[in-house]
């Protein structure tokens, strides 16, 4: 007999951790099912207390990963190192599919805590304009909620996770409940000041980080301490200085006594009771024994990450839903989005040779989207922002990769160089119906689950944005006071791998119309009342801001709604 819970939460990452906390704190017996292994907060997998010389293989990943074709999609990435490799999924072990001409990057963390362990912690609210964009320009499905629906939930989430940020007073990037912001470097301050003088719409602000600078009593009670400016977050944080499921939501859920947690269990499908017309629970495969089991619950929350949840939905076939549960509209898997780049720029900030920075700030600076309106005669809709930084002075390079040995080259290496400001575009990709994730007809993974096939690409609107963003950032750096400016753009004919910004979303979008959307305004399936999808799959558009804070706000709002219905007995 399957065991019965009030709520099943699939996934223990950023959104799953939140769903678990909310339901357990409201008194519901909650089962969290996680496909990855258990990871202990402050356990042996955390490498944050190791100095560079103490890290295994001096932070290099073993060479045989390459020979064995492991981690090929992320091997060049700065976040994938010897000290962090345990927190990233190997695409060889966990394959997915894409058209040869259009590689898709699906960066995953399959362990307890998911990508809450490895995320960059930039925590930005969406603004009112972001929620009306689809309706305004007719792309995708209009959002069924607006900023005001989420605002109190943003407050709630920020208070708990701890966001260190400046109150910038920007209409399009609303302020929230903030702790003390991180300081800008002198070079960043120069640019910020020059931009403020020259533009009414373009700002350089300090990033908004889920790293705590003024721990609250609630945070300290969970064992979290002030961020120590080490910027080793992706190795796990012994201080609990940044928000993760491991440091915050799961301990809070566990404290209630209402949490049951299962790891190494892949949810294969949501089970559907044809008689009752409801989800009855989920079926899982034990990753180690490959044994199958079922669990029952009154409510199922899918929080397996956008594409993870899409895969589960599509794979949950029944007589009523031959194309996957909650898919009467045929929209499950549609409108896959990610932020995209295509412009990288840098410039030297002159004249600060007697100044230095010290400590490692855990966040960059940010130029928020200033192109919501169609101004300057541009021929695209939506806009872009830039993640940027001049946190430290550059260092003169060593001669590791060029000719030269001996005392002379040693003495000139690693000396303070100029301040260099770097910026990377984050553009808003439109929701395209034809950017689609589907189940591959023949390919399966080692557990026999059909692989997800993801076919997504940027189109004309995004290419136009890249052209304009290149012009803009060149000008911004110039006006900001930089010299020796370089602007690199991705050639028009080169595929831009979607997923590379790791903000993949869509696939089960929210909307008011059950014929054109999968979820209603509560992230509840139109077709199945007791099924909710609150990770990035529910997003109807992608804006330009890093999305996880919005996923969290949507999750707690949906959990609150579901809990009220459960208390009333109508769920």
């Amino acid at each position: 007999m399957a065991q019965e819970y009030d709520v099943i939460v699939v996934g223990s990452g950023i959104t799953g951790g939140w769903a678990a906390k909310e339901f357990t704190e409201k008194g519901f017996k909650t089962l969290v099912i996680e496909r990855g292994r258990n990871v202990e907060h402050r356990g042996s997998e955390y490498t944050d207390m190791q100095a560079p010389w103490q890290i295994e293989n001096r932070n290099l990943v073993p060479e045989d990963f390459d020979e064995q074709g492991r981690y090929q999609l992320i091997k060049q990435k700065g976040y994938f190192k010897g000290a962090t490799k345990q927190f990233f999924a190997d695409d060889k072990e966990h394959p997915y599919s894409y058209p040869d001409a259009r590689p898709f990057k699906w960066v995953r963390s399959y362990q307890l805590g998911g990508r809450s362990v490895t995320w960059g912690r930039q925590s930005l609210r969406w603004g009112p304009k972001d929620f009306v964009a689809n309706k305004k320009d007719g792309n995708g499905v209009p959002w069924p909620i607006g900023y005001e629906d989420l605002a109190p939930w943003y407050d709630y989430v920020e208070s708990f996770i701890g966001v260190s940020a400046n109150r910038d007073g920007l209409e399009d990037l609303p302020d929230g409940v903030f702790q003390k912001p991180w300081e800008m470097s002198c070079a960043e301050k120069v640019i910020a000041k020059n931009l403020r003088k020259a533009y009414s719409d373009r700002r350089l602000i300090i990033g908004r980080a889920a790293n705590i600078t003024e721990p609250t009593a609630e945070q300290m009670k969970l064992g979290r301490g002030q961020c120590q400016a080490r910027a080793y977050c992706k190795r796990g944080c012994t201080f609990g200085g940044y928000f993760s499921s491991l440091s915050a939501t799961l301990p809070a859920a566990n404290n209630t006594g209402n949490l049951t947690l299962i790891t190494n269990a892949i949810v294969e499908r949501v089970d559907y009771d044809e008689k009752l017309g409801r989800a009855s629970g989920v079926s899982i495969i034990d990753t180690l024994s490959k044994e199958k089991r079922s669990y029952k619950a009154r409510v199922v929350f899918l929080c397996a990450s956008a594409l993870g949840s899409v895969q589960i939905l599509l794979n949950s076939k029944s007589a009523t839903f031959p194309n996957g549960i909650a898919n009467s509209s045929g929209v499950v898997g549609r409108y896959i989005m990610d932020h995209f780049s295509g412009v990288l720029a840098d410039g030297i900030v002159p004249g600060l040779d007697d100044k230095f920075a010290t400590g490692r700030r855990p966040i960059a600076t940010y130029i928020p989207n200033y192109r919501h309106e169609n101004k300057d005669g541009v021929e695209f809709v939506r806009g872009y922002g830039f993640q940027a930084t001049a946190q430290h002075r550059t260092k003169t390079p060593t001669h590791a990769n060029k000719a030269g040995i001996g005392v002379d080259v040693k003495e000139v290496a690693n000396q303070p160089g100029p301040w260099k400001f770097r910026a990377i575009m984050y553009g808003e990709m439109l929701p395209y119906f034809d950017n689609v994730a589907s189940l591959h007809p023949t390919k399966t993974d080692q557990w026999g689950i059909p692989q997800l096939h993801i076919d997504a690409r940027v189109r004309d609107n995004e290419r136009k944005m890249i052209r304009q963003a290149a012009k803009d950032i060149g000008e911004i750096l110039d006006v900001g006071g930089c010299v020796d400016i370089n602007v690199n753009t991705t050639p028009e004919d080169r595929h831009i791998a979607i997923g590379d910004r790791i903000h993949e979303m869509g696939g089960a979008c929210m909307g008011n119309d059950p014929n054109t959307s999968v979820l209603n305004k509560w992230a509840q399936a139109h077709d199945v009342d007791n099924l909710f999808v609150t990770d990035g799959a529910c997003m109807s558009s992608c804006a330009t801001q890093n999305p996880s804070l919005t996923y969290m706000a949507i999750t707690v709002r949906a959990a609150d709604y579901a809990a009220k219905l459960m208390q009333k007995g109508s769920l």
Partner: protein, 194 residues
């Protein structure tokens, strides 16, 4: 003759089945041949022989010599490399490095009619310096590839070592974005920013 014995012990992970065992690398012990200005290492490493270790330690020290700041020997570059040959390097890299040492001896014999380790310091420096120039000028040969790879890993190990990072702070406490040299020196001296 000066006796050289490093206090340095490194640990590496060896996987035997699924069990992880911590194994201490041998202490790098050796004597200095003052005439040749050569540190002669007497113990084999875990991967390299004592002779290989001697050659490699010498090459690393020629690349990154002791000056006002630590050199490659003080930074224990070669014992670390030796351990990493078992935990990081693939068979191809192991072969490349061993063949590079063979090649270096061949070049020494062709140029000076004797083994690399029999050469005086100035000749060894000249030889490695020449090889460095050639390896970057013409990057297609196997010798160039092996040399550049060895150089890269030697530099990596050196610049991630404790002696090469005297101001490293594991726990800075906070970040300051605009400080003077004097303030920086104060923070570095106390090993904390906050």
């Amino acid at each position: 003759m000066r006796t050289f014995s490093s206090e340095f012990i490194i640990s590496r992970r060896v996987f035997i089945g699924s069990a992880m065992v911590l194994v201490a690398a041998p202490i790098l012990a050796g004597t200095t041949n003052t005439e040749k200005e050569l540190l002669v290492i007497s113990n084999s490493g875990q991967f390299f022989s004592a002779e290989h270790m001697t050659m490699l330690a010498d090459i690393a020290e020629i690349m990154i010599p002791l000056s006002d700041t630590a050199g490659a020997t003080d930074a224990h570059v070669i014992p670390v490399l030796d351990a990493m040959m078992l935990t990081w390097a693939v068979a191809g890299t192991k072969k490349q490095f061993l063949q590079l040492l063979v090649k270096l001896n061949e070049i020494a014999k062709a140029s000076f009619q004797t083994h690399y380790l029999n050469l005086g310091k100035d000749k060894r420096v000249a030889l490695v310096s020449h090889l460095d120039k050639r390896a970057f000028a013409n990057q297609t040969s196997e010798l160039s590839k092996s040399y550049r790879k060895l150089k890269k890993i030697i530099f990596h190990i050196y610049y991630t070592s404790e002696p090469a990072n005297p101001d490293f702070m594991l726990i800075p406490g906070t970040y300051r974005g605009c400080v003077t040299q004097a303030e920086l020196d104060t923070f570095n001296a106390r090993g904390r920013v906050s």
